[in-house]
Amino acid sequence: MIEARDLVKRYGSFEAVRGVTFTVPEGQVVGLLGPNGAGKTTIMRILTCYHFPSSGTARVNAHDVREEPLEVKKSVGYLPENAPLYADLKVLEYLRFIARIRGLPPAALRERVEWSIAQCGLAPVVYRDIGRLSKGYRQRVGLAQAILHDPRTLIMDEPTTGLDPGQIIEIRELIRELGREKTVVLSTHILQEVESICDEVIILNNGLVAAQGTAGELERSLASAVVLAVVVQARSAGEVDRELESFEQGRVTRRPSDLGSGRVLFELALDTGVSESAVFDWAVSRGLKIAGMTPKSSNLEEIFLKLTRPGQADA
């Protein structure tokens, strides 16, 4: 459980976080989403007690970050950006160090180190110098370090940045697995990541929360229309244009145009709550055959751009 209230963090005269309030319920996976410089890393640094907030409060597992930092730190596993590690230690040496500094008793130490090695697939590299590992393995060592003491809460700053597609899928799988029993906060600027692993999204922009909710909630509340590019088989664009007048569950955002060989392209913005099947029903009722249909953009992406693009904040 994480509760942040009116968090503000100033670095000199620069305000990195400007009054952020949010709650992450126990056992949820929440993604902080935002462009670079939105304040994601700063918020994570406050939650992990690396920095104190300039004002406002944050409580992690019922402990205040300023009053009981040691208690907060005990219950949190942290993977900072780029997984910083001691390059001159071997993987096993490093994980043993983490286990000791986390205060694990010697009896549990061995078992937990082995568990985290197995969880993160590190067995092939345990005797290798960390400095010689690939980016993917380094990231996994960082993750192994974060979960070693079985924390209630995991905080991860861009856990998949710099990995290849295969590694990204593996790490996401692992995070999803961990998220079943732990509270997880992760930051990213990759939208699919949020859609694929997070229960809830907090969109940050310029140090403020621009929107918060599940992906579905955000779509509904922002009434962002689903835009479809549709190709139908028809004699002419004009014919399709006439038939479209009878379509009442959305509006045409691009008038039909001929693609040649009897195919006509147009674009539709569906009304809120209307699914793609309405377009099929309409086509059938008008005797048109749909040759193809593609969503113009991921919905979350549209929301994200709407909220974070300069000059469109009020859109």
Binding site: R45, Y50, V76, Y78, E81, Y86, L89, R100, I101, G103
Partner: protein
């Protein structure tokens, strides 16, 4: 205490996994030996004393101590491990003492290795064991005070190189500031203060085989002040 040992253990492991520790050790042993046997011409002097050997320690420490301490915080910040280190469930004072203990352990290893010199020359004359042990105690105290200064400077500097250069400069000034009144005209009070601040001045009595509680207090106080400042520097960084 346990946490301090864990931190110190990690520091030492990192130091000995890389050439750094070995280079530092070899440098110091070579530097002091060359000084003693070739420059001071120990065997030509016909004097059963190691005062000249220990006499070069303050000068050698000006380079040795910054070489040991420069990594401690500056390296962590460069690697980014600083961020993890400070989010482990460990008090700031334990982090500082862990790093300090690691530096002291490396220094102790070096001092033990220098024992080859006293042990090697004893067959050649009636050496007195007392002064030699006193000289070692003095070297440990001097090094301890200097290490706390070096580690503090590493905590507030941006890179290992700046940490090394600033520490070396500070130690150079602090070590030999006591010589200034010999060359520059100044009021007696000021001269006394300047002399009293000098690290070398307090090490000198150990070199003569004297254990003076005031000198011990001076070195311990210096170590304490800079370790304390280091803990405060960590705290200030969290608020900035």
């Amino acid at each position: 205490m346990r946490n301090i040992l864990v931190i110190a253990g990690r520091e030492l492991r990192s130091s000995f996994n890389t050439p750094v520790a070995y280079v530092v050790i070899v440098f110091f042993l070579l530097f002091t030996s060359v000084w003693f046997f070739f420059i001071q011409q120990f065997f030509a002097q016909d004097n059963a004393s190691l005062r000249d050997y220990f006499g070069v320690f303050p000068a050698a420490f000006v380079l040795l101590i910054p070489a040991i301490s420069m990594r401690s915080w500056a390296e962590e910040r460069k690697l980014g491990t600083h961020e993890l280190l400070l989010t482990f469930p460990v008090r700031d004072v334990e982090l500082v003492l862990g790093k300090y203990l690691a530096g002291m352990a490396l220094l102790a290893v070096i001092l033990v290795l220098t024992a080859a010199i006293p042990l090697g020359v004893t067959p050649f004359g009636p050496f007195d064991r007392g002064p030699i042990l006193t000289e070692y105690l003095g070297a440990l105290l001097l090094g301890g005070a200097e290490l706390s200064i070096g580690i503090f400077i590493s905590a507030v500097s941006t890179s290992q190189i700046t940490s090394f250069l600033i520490s070396a400069f500070c130690l150079l000034v602090l070590s030999f500031i006591g010589e200034v009144p010999k060359f520059v005209e100044m009021p007696d009070g000021a001269a006394a203060v300047v002399t009293y601040l000098s690290l070398d001045y307090h090490f000198d009595s150990f070199r003569e085989g004297l254990i003076d509680s005031r000198d011990i207090a001076y070195f311990l106080l210096a170590a304490f002040v800079f370790l304390y400042a280091n803990v405060k520097a960590l705290l200030i960084a969290k608020w900035r």
